[in-house]
Amino acid sequence: MNSGYLHLVLNHFPTLGFSIGLVFFAMALLVKKEELERAGLVIFFLTAAVTIMTYVSGSDAQQALKETPGFSEGLMKAHESAALVAFAFMEMTGFFSWIGLWVWGRRSRFAGWNRGVVLALSLITFVLMARAAYFGGAIRHPETEAAATIPVDPSVPTLARSWGLFVQDTSWVWPACETLHFVGLCLLFGVVMTVNLRMLGVGKTLFSFAALYQLVPLGMLGFTLNLVTGMMFFVATPEQYTGFLFFLKMALVVAGALNLLYFMLWKTPSQIEQGDDAPIVSKLVAASAILIWVGVVFCGHMLPWLGNSF
């Protein structure tokens, strides 16, 4: 199975998964149930993480479909651009959902402003994602009426392609994004190391989990920086980022998101006080966090040698 087919499986997460999150979140606001609201935020956050895989596997799917009869290049590009916009809003929804969860982890209540931001972003994302999915469906079924309703003008470059051309044609953008990608790596690495090494016992007499938990948003800032700069590379040259190694990198990012949720949602880590030895489960999760993020760096670094990028 190549990741072209994976795209067809993964594309259900941003649509179906996100809808479920939206139902949870909307119901939570109606009946004022915080547990339900938390569940909605968790689903938003995880969907946003999986959607990274969905988006990048699209490049493989494009390669796989290119040869099929009736394939419309214009329709594909329209889908790519619609998906890019929807993806951007999806990631923003995921980001603010995560902020909501983080604040809850500290104070056991939600910030009102955040609730409004997540609601607005999730509604916009839902509409944009439905549109992207509609365009995507039309690629597979060019004979249907749906395909005919989508305006495709091959002479006008789509949003994704003009963004890509900007990155390729402006000499400083690529090296600047690479540099920022390293800055983000350092921030993320600093947080991953300090928090997880404490769980493994380094400085356990000095730090409670709750104290180091306050550093976690810096790691999320680093991750966000890398998601944005990483997308600059991807949108500019999607054909470079196909194949197993890059997909593994993205899968590890999703694993990293799941790993982080353990520390944010489970009660056990939050009860680790200064001087406490972390329970074995927390230690295992902490060790896997370090392995996951070193793995992400490994996969990214080895792309020119083991993957398809230059």
Binding site: T179, F182, L188, F189, V202, L206, L212, Q214, L215, V297
Partner: protein, 163 residues
């Protein structure tokens, strides 16, 4: 220059540069990246703490992570020396390389000053830190940023390090 050429053309340097093995150039560069993550990452945590992030973390306690930070530093000193040796003539001719070394030297002096003046002293965490501490934290972040920028640009300025 003859001396640099001799190093560059030595058997081990040729292997690092030209071998298809992942343990050669790709692996050494990977270690250099991971080392950077440790040094700059942990140093940045200290800097951001001084600037007011994560107030529940006691500043002096962060020294506990310094040995790990120095492990990262020495990984990079060693891998950096190898990466210099395999491209000795081009690297030493590249002004950007010296810019990077200056930034690293400044950052190391900076972290030693932080250790001496902020982390070891008996500052009361409950009171605001003196301005000097925050200035040192900001310069620390700027020096590492400078090192990362000039390091990345080595691949573009003078085309000396390949990837």
């Amino acid at each position: 220059m003859d001396f640099l050429l001799k190093i560059e053309e030595s058997g081990i340097c040729q292997w690092v540069r030209e071998s298809d093995s992942l343990f050669a150039f790709p692996g050494i560069l990977l270690l250099h990246t991971l080392g950077m993550g440790l040094v700059v990452g942990i140093n940045a945590m200290v800097d951001f703490r001084i600037l007011g992030f994560a107030p529940a973390v006691r500043i002096q306690s962060l020294q506990r992570f310094f040995p790990i930070m120095w492990v990262g530093f020495w990984i990079n000193a060693i891998t950096g020396t190898i990466l210099l040796a395999v491209n000795a003539t081009k690297m030493t001719a590249n002004p950007d390389f010296y810019v990077k070394l200056v930034f690293i030297a400044l950052a190391v002096i900076n972290v030693r000053m932080l250790k001496k003046h902020v982390l070891s002293s008996d500052f009361d965490d409950k009171r605001p830190l003196p301005m000097n501490a925050k200035v040192l934290a900001i310069t620390s972040l700027l020096f590492w940023l400078g090192a990362i920028i000039s390091g990345r640009l080595l691949a573009y300025v003078g085309r000396s390090s390949g990837v």
